[in-house]
Amino acid sequence: MKIAVASTGENLGAQVSPVFGRCSYFVFVNVEDGEIKDSKPLENPAISQSGGAGIKAAEIIANEKADIVISGAVGPNAYDILKQFGIKIYKIAAGTVEHNVEYFLKGKLEEIQGPDSMKQGRGMGRGMGQRR
């Protein structure tokens, strides 16, 4: 099983990120027989996208063939894409990437059943700074 965790850093000891589309890294954690086998970080290229960062991030995760995503709120577009590829989303708890994977394995994380109500996630793309 491959778990993608939205993270602020590259390794298992890094703190998780509450944002999905514009998190700094995704840490992909391989789990076998209920134990962490290895992990691989991927710098999130979507962080600098002007728009649709959540979409891009979901595309990356689907391409990596992850089974599970652990993240904060996920926007509707990203949610739909992850759902189409049968990827389940679980809500992060405070702590590190490793903690969150362990919480998940113990069944302590809550599955996110729908997209966050905010239309566009937390992005500040498309010149939002100049809007009212």
Binding site: G51, G52, I55, K56, E59, I81, F85, R126, Q130, R132
Partner: protein
Amino acid sequence: MKVAITGGKGGTGKSTMATAISIVLTDKYKVMLVDTDVECPDDHIILPIKREKIKDITNFLPKFDRKSCIKCGECSGICKQNAIVYVKDNYPILIPPQCNGCGACLLTCPYGSIHKDTQIVGSIYHGFLDEKKVGKQIAENFILISGEIEIGCESTSLVVNATKEHALTFQDQYDHIIIDTAAGTHCNVISALMDVNCALAVTEPTPLGCHDLELILLLLEKMGIKSKIIINRSNIGDSNMVKDLSKRYGVEILAEIPYEKSILKLYSQGAPVSHSKIKEFVENWEDLK
């Protein structure tokens, strides 16, 4: 003559001013008010207006032909809007609200698997004043052209351009055109400001009002558009901040409208706002040319 009502900051009274000026002008002239704040048009709410939808605005949307698509993903790679999702060995997935209709995917697809389709991005409305509330002459001298974007769509400047283009097809029938722009200085405001004879920047004498006023003055200077400042709620905050900007950019202050209960009363009744200070400068409207 086309005059734009703009100002940078939101909530300074652009629409209130645009509607009030239009109503004063209808006394002598035929007036077309164009509401280009397509994300939240409200001129028809401020004035007693009934809107009728005239037409939808459509834009290009790619349509994938799965028979010839080889799942190469080039369409997704070229899309700067992230509107096309590509996951290895899968057909591309389109996210329509992200698409701005640029057509890059259509040109890029090496197998001609993308066809032209359209999506509705907004609508154009005509609005007429309630004769019983404003009187026959004013109602007859006035038309509102209002553009409204489809919920979830982001191609605002496209809707602004389509609304303006539609309005200008019968501009000959009107003496004065008032263009009410959105807040900000982004592309849909720029589209609304194109080709106007003069722009009136409505601001309030607050630090934020002045900050955004400076941005719009810089934009207007860059676009080579003659501009003047209207200070709304002139008796709150510190008008000297606006006066400093006026001097620095050499842009005259056309009027100072105070914050008065009588104005708020009319506004809350859904009646056109009227004030002696507004009538005063509209008297010399032709001078703005």
